[in-house]
């Protein structure tokens, strides 16, 4: 079977997309990335708000902010060893 002519014809079967094609993809990509960014910023904002709220809560409860108050062992410092011994 001689397919030489057909083979030559098949080699010419090339196509391309117009410039609109590039533009539509780039537009979709920029929309996608814009949609992703607010979700990331809202997560960061949410986290920051949570931390500020916690710090404010601790300050209102203990009247100061220290490592001990953050860890919840602020009262332990004020307890003397004799008081602790009385527990037992």
């Amino acid at each position: 079977m001689n397919t030489h002519k057909l083979e030559k014809q098949l080699q010419t079967m090339h196509y391309t997309f117009s410039d609109d094609f590039d533009r539509s993809i780039l537009e979709e990509i920029s929309t996608m990335t814009q949609l992703r960014l607010p979700s990331l910023t809202s997560i960061i904002t949410g986290l920051a708000a949570c931390i500020i709220f916690c710090l404010g809560f601790i300050y209102l409860q203990d009247g100061n902010l220290s490592y001990d108050s953050l860890l919840g062992i602020d009262m332990l410092n004020k307890t003397s060893s004799t008081e602790l011994l009385n527990y037992f």
């Binding site: 014809q9 098949l10 079967m13 090339h14 196509y15 990509i29």
Partner: protein
């Protein structure tokens, strides 16, 4: 805007991952022809080919970090295009019944001899009458110019299967063109 002409494909991929949209625009510019050729010959319809081509580049953008740079970008995108075309064809059960504006192309080809443009349309129409498996091999091997081994690797088929599908596919295509479109291949 910096010039991307001399950048390699891998450099463009890295720049896109870093957030450079112009680098991705260059990737599209370089490979839209290759994607269009595969999609158009697999699907036979401009709008369908555009839709699949669009999906190819969007999917590639979303999975850029998974691209391991083992295969060339062209081969990687061709594999993606073939897979998406086959999925597209599965979804469209009525695909094989489409005529793809054959009548006009046929009447011109039989009366006055065939210009390149018309001949392209007719051959594309004939291609669409083949089974997916035969068409895929012909598109990769004969149109895209991959070697038999590369085609086998792309389709994850044994080399012998590619050769037999190619031989059978070419014979069928020739018969379709001769009997249905009055082409002469002597």
């Amino acid at each position: 805007m910096q010039s991307f002409d001399k950048k390699t494909d891998y450099e463009l991929v890295d720049l896109t991952i870093e957030g450079d949209e112009f680098a991705f625009a260059e990737i599209i510019r370089r490979y839209k022809g290759s994607v269009a050729t595969t999609a158009m010959n697999m699907l036979g319809d401009v709008e369908d080919a555009k839709e699949v081509g669009h999906q190819v580049f969007i999917r590639f953008f979303n999975t850029l970090k998974k691209y391991r740079k083992e295969a060339s970008l062209n081969t990687y995108l061709t594999r993606m295009t073939i897979n998406l075309c086959l999925n597209f064809l599965k979804r469209r059960k009525n695909f094989q019944n489409r005529s793809y504006e054959l009548k006009n192309a046929m009447s011109v080809s039989t009366e006055n001899g065939i210009s390149d443009f018309e001949s392209k349309d007719v051959v594309n129409s004939a291609l669409q009458k083949l089974d997916n498996k035969h068409r895929t091999v012909i598109v990769l091997r004969m149109i895209k110019g991959y070697s038999t081994l590369e085609t086998a690797d792309l389709l994850q088929l044994p080399k012998g299967t590619v050769l037999s599908r190619l031989k059978r596919g070419m014979a069928k295509l020739k018969t379709i063109l001769e009997t249905e479109y009055n082409y002469e291949y002597t």
